[in-house]
Symmetry: C2
Subunit: 362 residues, 2 copies
DNA sequence: TTGAAAGCGCTAACAG
DNA sequence: CTGTTAGCGCTTTCAA
């Protein structure tokens, strides 16, 4: 049992004294041969330990792998550590499941530039989840002669895409804060480029960001606040490479150091915001009384914490990406799915208190 | 760009006037040809839109897919909804990553018996995560001539395995409860067989359970409590098919209905326990004052809730499974990795109060 | 219903 | 350093 390379379709056919076609049909086209013969074939197969047609050989012949490849910026394992990514995966898995396809997670470390894994992947198409414009893995994916769907970023012409209107989404948040009276803010954002930079993100760096989504959000924030007279050049923006709550914590500290007078910290993700929230409270400041903190994504952890944030339908993004990829009818590519977002008014944003209030309490 | 089936290694070779070997070497053995020639090959490839060697054809030839398959009991998407499963996946992904292998999630619904996906999977081996003894998908996996590692269950001779000592683990919990003075308990457990059964699990059903892990835990509980004079036949045990907090909630209700006098509810998973915890508190009972509730697994949500539980190293299980599978040296199979567990004394278990105390408070 | 012929696209000896 | 020879194991017209 479980012997190596025991029998092939050909050897089975020989053993039975029938043609390979017949054996193949026994497995793939039951209606193409008599039930008795089929049974005989299958029985003999069992006896010989023939495990059925080799999937790789079959794939080569049929040009179908029955699997979807997923490429993401991060280490494979990261996908399971980030709540947003997990939900995206769930949605994608749902779509794959429906189509009877497997989901292949392609190992693509952001550090190591090992594109080989992309070349090795036996898949019928790729879903690319939120990678930078200049990602070499993405380039490798694009070379493969299979359909590709990109989620979130980058924003390539001629490629199917699913995402949200980041600019609009964060503007609803900006307006919310502006209406509350905030004019002096700080921004905590995610990685802006492939190179690690944990610190200030200059206006220059913001403009050159290779992560389209982050760039769009920063740009929209700048626009919205500029309109009410804020000089964006003066707004402290800090960037963190790792997407963790620890990053969120250190980022908020840096912001507060750069400008202790800020009344609100806008985070471009819930993870960063949750990290900031914990840190700030731990250091004795009250949220939202002393400081407003907002997030982006709408993950369940954020909801649980009462975070004021922007909710995007992450599960739907995954599902839509999978469907788009697996949809055989091709009604004019490139296609685009743009999902709706929604401002979630939690308990971490309030009007800034006047300086007197801050010093003297109520 | 992105044209269909544009060029093959052979056509490239013809175009260049060299042999296929040379082109192959250009990709796979850079040291086997002059840098100039290699460059010429690669340049021409780019010009012709040749995407590099076809991964499937290569796999067929080399008999390596560069991916490991994962089979689990549940729908693919479930894997991302269950915190324990997510952590397991993370560990497995870590191991795959290290080896540069992809991770293929094989769609295997517990309801639909579609084994085809297992046959289609182009992988170098399978990790099987916690499936019942009689799972048809498992049977299909076993037929494939590739290495297999089983995690948790079932407990097959001749197959590499990673798991914990379930019997010992839950006994530490049983002893803890017994020491606290509990003698009248109820048990909430997970699915015992492939068929859906949301309700009482008779002693008979417990004995016939096809999920080895659950069975081991129940058996060990029965032993431990029998030793102190408890008649296991009288202990209410309820089973839930879906592994959700909602199941945990309904299960605890059913237990309390069956025997309002129980002082502790032992759950065989943290998810069930957390569901029970919420439900019981919502209905006005205090935990642990009025009722003790315990879990199993040690997921972070449990820790956060202060659940008294048994922690098992889930991440390590995933990683160990991956390593075992990918470990090329084969020092005498079948091998087994047995991980340690640890009783976590949280705040949801305490000594049962006497009846008087219950009625009259302190 | 069954069989014969013709590759799918590639790599791995081995010989030059 | 380069080419020749032989398949990997299967499916699929097409004809019998």
């Amino acid at each position: 049992m479980n012997a190596r390379r025991p029998a092939t379709l050909a050897s089975l056919a020989a053993e039975l004294g029938v043609s390979r076609t017949t054996v193949s049909n026994a497995y793939n086209r039951p209606d193409q041969l008599s039930p008795e013969l089929r049974k005989r074939v299958l029985d003999t197969a069992r006896r010989l330990g023939y495990p059925g047609p080799d999937p790789v050989a079959r794939s080569l012949r049929t040009r179908k792998a029955g699997a979807v490849g997923l490429l993401l910026t991060e280490n494979l394992s990261y996908a399971f550590r980030d709540p947003g990514a997990v939900v995206f995966l769930e949605g994608l898995a749902l779509a794959c499941e429906d189509a009877g396809h497997g989901l292949l997670l392609v190992p693509a470390s952001p550090e190591r530039e090992d594109v080989a894994a992309v070349h090795r992947a036996g898949v019928d198409g790729f879903v690319v989840y939120s990678v930078p414009d200049d990602d070499p893995h993405l380039a490798a994916v694009m070379e493969r002669p299979v359909p590709v769907v990109i989620c979130d970023q980058p924003n390539l012409e001629s490629i199917d895409r699913v995402g949200i209107d980041d600019s609009h989404a964060i503007k609803t948040m900006a307006e919310h804060l502006i209406n509350l009276g905030h004019r002096r803010i700080g921004v905590s954002c995610m990685r802006l480029a492939r190179g690690r930079n944990d610190g200030i993100a200059s206006v220059q760096r913001q403009a050159n960001a290779s992560f389209h989504v982050q760039k769009a959000r920063l740009t929209a924030l700048a626009e919205a606040f500029s309109e009410v007279g804020v000089d964006w050049e003066q707004v402290p923006v800090v960037e963190r490479f790792d997407h963790t709550t620890a990053s969120g914590a250190s980022a908020v500290n840096q912001l507060l150091e750069m400008d202790p007078e800020i009344t609100a910290v806008v985070c471009t993700s819930d993870i960063l915001a949750l990290g900031a929230l914990d840190e700030v409270r731990e250091r004795g400041r009250r949220v939202p009384e002393d400081l407003t903190i907002t997030g982006f994504d709408g993950i369940v952890e954020a909801e649980r914490a009462g975070l004021t944030t922007v909710r995007q339908p992450i599960l739907e993004k995954g599902r839509a990406a999978g469907r788009l990829l697996l949809d055989t009818s091709e009604p004019g590519r490139p296609r685009e799915v743009r999902l709706e977002t929604q401002l979630v008014t939690g308990t971490t944003a309030a009007s800034p208190r006047s300086v007197e209030e801050r010093w003297f309490g109520f």
